[in-house]
Structure formats: C-alpha cells, structure tokens
Symmetry: C2
Subunit: 152 residues, 2 copies
Amino acid sequence: MTDDATDATPEALASRLGYLLKHVHLRWVEASARALTPFGVDGRELAVLAVLAADRSLSQMEAAARLAVDRTTMVGLVDTLEEKGFVERRRSSRDRRKNIVELTPAGRDRLREAERAREEAERRFLAPLSPSGADQLLRALRTLAAAPRSAD
Amino acid sequence: MTDDATDATPEALASRLGYLLKHVHLRWVEASARALTPFGVDGRELAVLAVLAADRSLSQMEAAARLAVDRTTMVGLVDTLEEKGFVERRRSSRDRRKNIVELTPAGRDRLREAERAREEAERRFLAPLSPSGADQLLRALRTLAAAPRSAD
DNA sequence: TGTTGACAATCAGCAACACTGATTATCAGT
DNA sequence: ACTGATAATCAGTGTTGCTGATTGTCAACA
C-alpha cells in the first residue's frame, strides 16, 4: 500500500515551495553532473569558467562575488581548475594582493564544449514543460533571485 | 568597482538553471527559517508534522519515503520532534519492527499555527510575481519534480 | 618615512548534513 | 526451528560552507 510515494510527490507536499525547490534542484544537480562528467568539470566549476570568459579577467574575490560563493570556497575552486589546466593565477601588477584569474586556451575550449552539453542537458531537463512554460519558469526564478532580501 | 555584484544576479549567470534554483532555494530557506523560528521548528520538521497529519499515522520509513529523506535522517528528525513533544513513537502491534509515529495534541496545535506562518511567508516570498505567475511557478516545479528520472 | 587601518588570498578548524554499512530485533515462508 | 528480508538505530565518513586567524600588500597620513 502506498509505496507509490517513492517517486511520486505525495499530496501533502505537492504545493510546498521548499520541498519543490529542493527536489527540483537535486534532480538538476544529478542530471547536469551526468551531462558534464565527460568534460571533467562540475556545474560550479563550469560557472566559474563562464564568468571568467564574460569578464576578461577577475580577481578571485570578484569572481566569488559574481557567483555568490564564499571567498574561501573560491580558493579551492580555482585550485582544482588550475590543476586541471583550465585557468591560471597571476599576481596583479597594479595591486599585488590580488590574484588575477584567467582562462587558459584549454579552459576556453573546454568551456565551449561543456557549455554546449549543459545547454543540451538543460533543454532535456525542461522538456516536460511547454517552451513558454520553461521560459516563464526561468523568468520567475530570476525575479525571485533578484528580489531584495525581504526586509522583515 | 562592481560591488553591485553582491546581490544582483550577474549577467553571465542570469539564465543558468542551477544557479537560479540554488539561490532561490537558499533565499527561501532563510525566509522560512525566519518565519518559523517563533514556533520552534524548521521547515523539514514542519513537513514531517504535515505528512503525519495527512496520513493518520505512519512508520518512520513511510514518513521518510513521503518526504524523500534518508531513513537514517528520519531517525534524528523524529528524535528532535519527540523531544519537543510534538510526536510520539509507538511500537506497531501488528509489526513490532515498526515505529508508528503519531502527532501529539501539542504537535497538532503547533502544526496548525506554524503552517499558517509558513503559508504567509510563502505568500510574501512569491509577492514579486504576479498571482498567476506564482501559480505557474509552482505548477512548473511540480511537473519537474514529478518527471520520470531522465532515462539517459 | 614610518605607522596605521583596510583588504586579498590562504589555511585550519568547526558545524551541518546526508549517506554507507553494520547491528539488533522482528517478520514471513519453508 | 531455520532462512532471508525488513525496520529502526548507530557509528563512521565525506562533503560543504562558514568563521577566524595569518600573511602580504595597499593607501593615507602624521
């Protein structure tokens, strides 16, 4: 009896925002991990490459701010990307406290390939929605992410 | 010096599903935590109370399956709810391996109050969207959460 | 010029969390 | 009775993100 609960969303939770966000996110993490494994990067590392490609070069702190990850987390992120040969650290000549992080040619190539795979995975993931539904979802999420932190 | 990046979603990431899901979820966790603090439960504990109220009584495993949390995590969840006096464990008489978990009257009261607060918080959280937009968001999330695990 | 306060990157340690695997008690079927 | 499966529990592990301290550097100013 009722072992359908294993992968169907149970009635009592179906409308809970927290439950839905968490599980959809989890699903996506799994799906994107699967899609990105062949490229040797995970979703967050790819996002780092993407922000570095967007702005020519950034300090670690700037990159961390862009991605809204902790500054100490960025250290490790850049570490692994550097080991993989996708980025390079360089001391800024204008402010020698800063590490300028830049894409290597290999990093740029990998970014291009992996981005394609990510986009494809995202398309597949959103396939259960109508095209306009997918679009509205992204727009709604963007709105909520950008909304000012509720001032109590 | 672009410190606007701290709370505005940077261009390069604005359309990343993973980024958006993660940060919207994080925002919601913060908001709901703030809303629920006065009631002495967090979002997950409240969800446990809700599934217990929906189905008269459940074994721990059944409750865990409903919420899609690990069975070992449910042990701790029930532990703290029991300490707070909101649920009670009872050995099933029909299958003495099972712990039947049931709401106490105090748990039922707390659930009612806290649910009201959660709904109110959810309304506030979704306020930046139009009413129909909020509705569509929930529907889309429900669809994605229920979609069959992509079969590669 | 030397001193002061702030900031960038790094590192070590901590807390939260969920999972794996083993253990104990119980069940159902032979 | 004996066997294989299942429920709850616990101990240990790995991950993650954070706090706080450290080191080097900067900018401002007496």
